[in-house]
Symmetry: C5
Subunit: 265 residues, 5 copies
């Protein structure tokens, strides 16, 4: 019986969600925002408050439509991804990743989100931001390594997401550039065997929060991801991580409609 | 008089709980999930919120049946164990251990659990996950040690459960494999005298949370368990634990029906 | 006028509390539980929630009687002491110390306590447990020292209680036994001048919580207690304490009726 | 449609806000307070409580006018700046920076703020204060460096604000003055390339809170700000920071009317 | 208009407060408690809960009178000082300093305070206690230094209060007495220039809480206080502080009537 209800509700949610006017201006720059340097990436994770669970389902659906509305409204300027952390991470229930050319645009999205009927149930926020940059540490890297690094990971859905913030120790920053580059080359080589099954993205966070890097991973093979982290823990550069995680965010990649459906239950 | 009420309630709870249709597809793979490598184990501990205590007993029983329903519904895919921490650990009231071939299935169970009438009272979650692997550290281990390790612990109920998460320091991971193996052999030898009365299970957590291992223990002899930990604290490998506990979860192994009965009171 | 009300209330509370049927099976083993090795001691400290203060006095008294009832009911199996921390410690309002042959019995008491009308106001619990053992560190200790150690502290009420949890560092456990014994002898000698005015009891907590020892003190001379701790801070063994306190619990020893009277106000 | 409502509301808020009698005594000393040594700067950040989101918009506007009133009333004695952190920092929603000749005047402003209808929704405060001083560390600094330091940053709005508290380690304070001065000169030189696009201000906090310095930054080029911090992390003096951030506050510079408009939504 | 209301309310509060019967037994021993060794000093800081702000002013005044009543009632046995932290410290809104010959008397005052109508709004308590002792570290101190130390600080009101808890490291306590004395002499000499404008008092806290000392300061010259702390940070003894602050409490010295007036607003 549960399945029957679930299917019915699923239809109801998607029909209602579909009735929110979708902007005809498609999010033209999404690809650019997700691939270019000089873009700000913000990770904003939230718990739903205790009142959310107490709302009736009809009210929850109404409020989730305001979430859909705010996301649609901002899609022209910022690229928004959404993840479900509940059940896999105790730090938050949902995670938004927002890419924008200017952090002011990200702030405006989050202000509108939190001012929405849905957003008023968001609490215990965890927010950190970083900047994408051109890969730069490894000038003397062999060409074949560079070529391999440029290969995209295998296509296909990668349902798991992991976000790990990192802070380097003071020693790291006072090392000569050449020494840091050598360590980063070792780091890179250790990660190569996993480049096909684990997709990675790096954000530079120094000064924008209490950390230096945000590392972002997607994979369908969590076991490969774990092997990757174990490999990285064994290289010298790892010893310069003063903070690695805290929090480690683990969840699943979801479409906005999927998240809406789950939260409507 | 209290006993009389207690017995009555016990009957009521068990009758009601029995009326939840138990899936005829028995949880066929439970043994495999609990014994094989490559399985994800998730520990999800929760407090009950302040509203729970204020609900009347009839309402609590109604809600506990939704707990029973969700567990039954997911038993085909995931193996679910339940523990009572209240009274022995300040971190949580109940603990679920879920084994699954894929973390997505664990997430779906916990999403359904939290969406249930009972689950809406779960708060302050503590969640961490690890992966079971073949024992691998000790290639040169003497055969008699291997044989002893393969002996199962003494049969019979082991009412106490202890879960201790561990994070190794950066030095540990940069040691040569042979050195780590030698230290692990010393660790293993130290633990042998307790293998009959303390049942152990190990999960590899690196990258999935802010820790490297989850160690799980069951025993009927807490004093033996304490001697085991004291023995492990004295070997060299222990000096590479950056985090040991925090939290240490201590509780009792309970059937789902026992937990339902306790929480119905 | 306050005094008049206070006296009236005192009478009312004691009369009502007296009407709770006291088990005729006296807690025969209390002395054994408090003096023998192999006994589990659990420290469970709680805050009263904000609703408690808002209840009317009649309701508070009714609920305090359920506290009395639960304690009476469990007195056959476990030894229960109660302390008032409010006003001297910000960690909790009340502290229970429970001695039991099995931690399951302690858990059952605390489950019943928290399920009672009174217990539903208990929140923010701090719980840790340890095991009593025979004194064992100091085999080569001079006989006169041993004799002095066996003398009981001066009789008479010791109104103040202090509980300090301790975790040793990894170095401590890897020291040769003889070296640890020598340090413990120095520790013991430093504490001797205070053995008459400060009563001590030691619990071994390794593995049961994130600590190694629970040290318990009663005294009527807080200044002597402070001198004792200062003396202990000066011996070598102190340098192996990775955690000392956190929390330090300071309160007053009270009878259950006194605690009921204070909380009824 | 949202925009139409937004414009209407904007007009309503500004008209109402305008009707609050603005003190004719202009804040004459604002420039002095913001530029002279011997002035106390207090950073007071707050979350809005859960009730705020549940108030109707009319009520929120009414209450925001009390914010405006309190600020106007205190403008004669203290200089008040306001920032929007929500969406960029999880530590707080709004930040006030107050400059005053005496901390008592700052306290009076914050007491009146929190006693106002609006202020009753402020919660989870983060407050720290420091004192402005004449630049003093670098007596032997070359004249051209001094000249460059005195050049103001480029005019124009600098929409982003970052506040980073710092605590030095004990080694720092025990270094000979000359050695500290040499390190500060290196620090200063590293920061020079960013003096045009990143505006800085320093507060001495030792003894007033658990930190030694409060560093304040405004910029329109967050990427430059990040490069500045990276440059500072590479100089020797950085190794003497025991705490750097925790929290790092990131937000946008706003007029009081802008903040009122955002919070009215 | 605000001022008019304010004056009216001020009168109302003081008239009402005056009508609380003031004990004719003056607090005869206040001077002794504040100046002699062997006295316990307790610092109890509290936030006011969210309900306080929602009470009407008449109700707040009624409840503040119960604060006044409790203080009056205990003045015979304990010396009570009160401070306003709100606006300058995020740790608490009000701070009580209680001096008593026995901590039991302090506990009784705080029990009565928290049981009062006003006290039920006190939450998030921060409590620590220490013992006054005769100055004892510096036996070989030159006579002129001793003479200077005995000079009282300049008379006149000292509106600011700062409380800094300190925990020494294990090295400190294992140093030979002579070495500690030499370091304390250096410490004392560094503080001498500020003895006229900064009043100090020291409490020994070892064993009573997770710290060794509580340092208390009053001053009208916060800049001098800051210079004092900077001077103390430069002496060798400072390197043995494992904890310095956490929290640092900063506020203003107020009479009970002033605090009542502020909280009535």
């Amino acid at each position: 019986m549960r399945s029957a209800i679930s299917v019915l509700m699923r239809v109801a949610v998607l029909v209602l969600a579909g009735s929110v006017a979708v902007s005809t201006v498609e999010a033209a720059d999404r690809e650019k925002l997700l691939s270019e340097p000089g873009v700000y990436g913000t990770f904003a994770a939230f718990h739903l408050d205790a009142d959310w669970a107490k709302e009736g389902q009809a009210m929850r659906i109404t409020q989730l439509l305001t979430l859909k509305g705010v996301v649609e409204q901002h899609r022209e300027k910022v690229a928004i991804d959404v993840y479900l952390l509940r059940g896999l991470s105790d730090r938050a229930d949902v995670l938004f990743r927002i890419h924008a050319a200017e952090l002011r645009e990200t702030q405006q999205f989050l202000l509108d989100l939190q001012a929405s009927q849905f957003g008023r149930h968001l609490t215990d926020s965890t927010i950190f931001s970083g900047l994408t940059k051109k890969a730069n540490y490894v000038p003397g890297m062999p060409d074949n390594l560079k070529t391999e690094l440029k290969l995209p990971s295998d296509p296909g859905s990668k349902p798991y997401v992991i976000v790990i913030p990192i802070r380097k120790d003071a020693d790291w920053w006072s090392l000569p550039q050449a020494q840091r580059a050598a360590m980063m080359q070792e780091h890179t080589e250790a990660s190569l065997p996993y480049s096909k099954t684990v997709k990675r993205k790096l954000y530079h966070a120094t000064g924008l929060d209490d950390l230096d890097f945000i590392t972002y991973f997607e994979t369908s093979q969590l076991e490969d991801f774990q092997s990757l982290i174990l490999a990285l823990e064994k290289v010298k550069e790892f010893r310069h991580n003063r903070r690695f995680g805290h929090p480690t965010l683990l969840g699943t990649v979801r479409s906005l409609d999927e998240v809406i459906e789950v939260l409507a239950q």
